[in-house]
Amino acid sequence: MTQGSLLRQILRYENRHDPYPLYAELRKTPVLNEDDAYVVSTYREVLTLLHDPRVSSDTRNMTRSAGIDLQDQQDPQDQQEGEATLPPSFIRLDPPEHDRLRRLTNTSFGPPHEPHRVHEMRGELGAIVSDLIGGIDGTGRIDLVGQFSYPFPVTVICRLLGVPREDESRFHGWADTLAASLDPMPGEDPTERNRAFQQARTELGMYLAGLIEERRRNPQKDMLSELATLNGPDGSMSTMELLSTAALLLVAGHETTVNLITNGMLTLLRNPQVLERLRADPDLSVPLVEELLRFEPPVQLVPNRTTLADIEIAGATIPKGASLWLVVAAANRDPLRFEDPDRFDPDREDVRHLGFGSGVHSCFGAPLARLEAQIALSELARRLVNPRLLEDPPEYRSNAVLRGPRHLPIACDDIRP
């Protein structure tokens, strides 16, 4: 293994298929100061910091940048005048702005305003899954990512937002570029990626602006229309806020659930007795997805927080303004918190994982992602006859944060109706 800081080893692509031994190394030092970043990896400490009001998600508060660059830490205020850069979305903001935007966004997504929206998508989710599986040729090599776990959540987020599915080829590229910006690249000159990131963001913003303009004139029953015409106790979003929010939802809807589903099928194929149980009992998908979120979380670490004050934790001091990395995937395997943490066990009684984070920034789309993964995995288990992995480990995407296979080649004997 190439030496270097633990952090750099974790970020190295050749370790992407199994970072967990490195996470175990990380946990030996609950707060590790490397490459000017403070990396926290134990369950109790990660959970504590996710609820600590001295920890900011607004990277403008970061005064000691990590030696490892993240593109979207660019201060929007640094942008040249007149450049049409979107303001930070709510994952990059602190209360009260974060809370206000999240509340506004939620008015068209969840309770108390839209209590049934997600629940009532079950039938539609099932139909999309059914169509996608039905379209797979079961006689040859199947790429589960390309044929199922990517198109499924993309179709869902497009319908939810009201983004035309046929524009997928356009926004796919922008979404990829934006997701890649979350991928820390040790030692690389960030200038080019920053430029690509800003360009993708601007182009996506302009694309969405056109859609929103159209929805304002002709509102539909979709989130873009509803967010564009908001008028509640919290007022409405400015156009720029709306564009940032829509871009966030579109990218998040693209780049996370795909990994949850692919990681899920990979884990099931590595645990055939669980797969067999799921085939017989689709309800097992409910606890199974929670265990999956612990065992293989689609977002491995939160690399973008900073400290507003010196914070004493686990015998260490994280100085004010530090770059703080919370490795939720390592916390989820902390043996001080979970018994036999490296075992995938859907019967686990105690599965309070950090797969969706915790605190005010906990995943906005969590209920939808849960339903998508539950329906996808139980249907794949039911319909694929004798599925098996053709490559193990499969080829991974380069991203260390949004970690998942780029392709998952599988084969099966037949596809049940």
């Binding site: 509340r103 969840g110 309770p111 108390p112 209590p115 049934h116 997600v118 629940h119 309800d283 409910v286 606890p287 997805v289 929670e290 105690d350 309070r352 969706f356 915790s358 906990s362 969590a366 209920p367 849960r370 339903l371 539950q374």
Partner: protein, 76 residues
Amino acid sequence: MRVVVDLNRCQGYAQCAFLAPDVFEMHGEEALLYKPRPDEAFREEVARAVAACPVQAILVDRLDEAVTAGEASDAR
């Protein structure tokens, strides 16, 4: 089926209200109201809510109604 939520633990993530809206309801931004004895028809919904609760605050009885009813009459 009987349900109780430990509202000391509850932090208003609303996963239950998303996934089992017939049983759990957000009352304002953060407060939770729920039906403590939902119809059996909602058992699957409730199971989703129990599993999804990030603070594991929802307790559902594991016993058949008949067992507890035999122990103690619920009638006057």
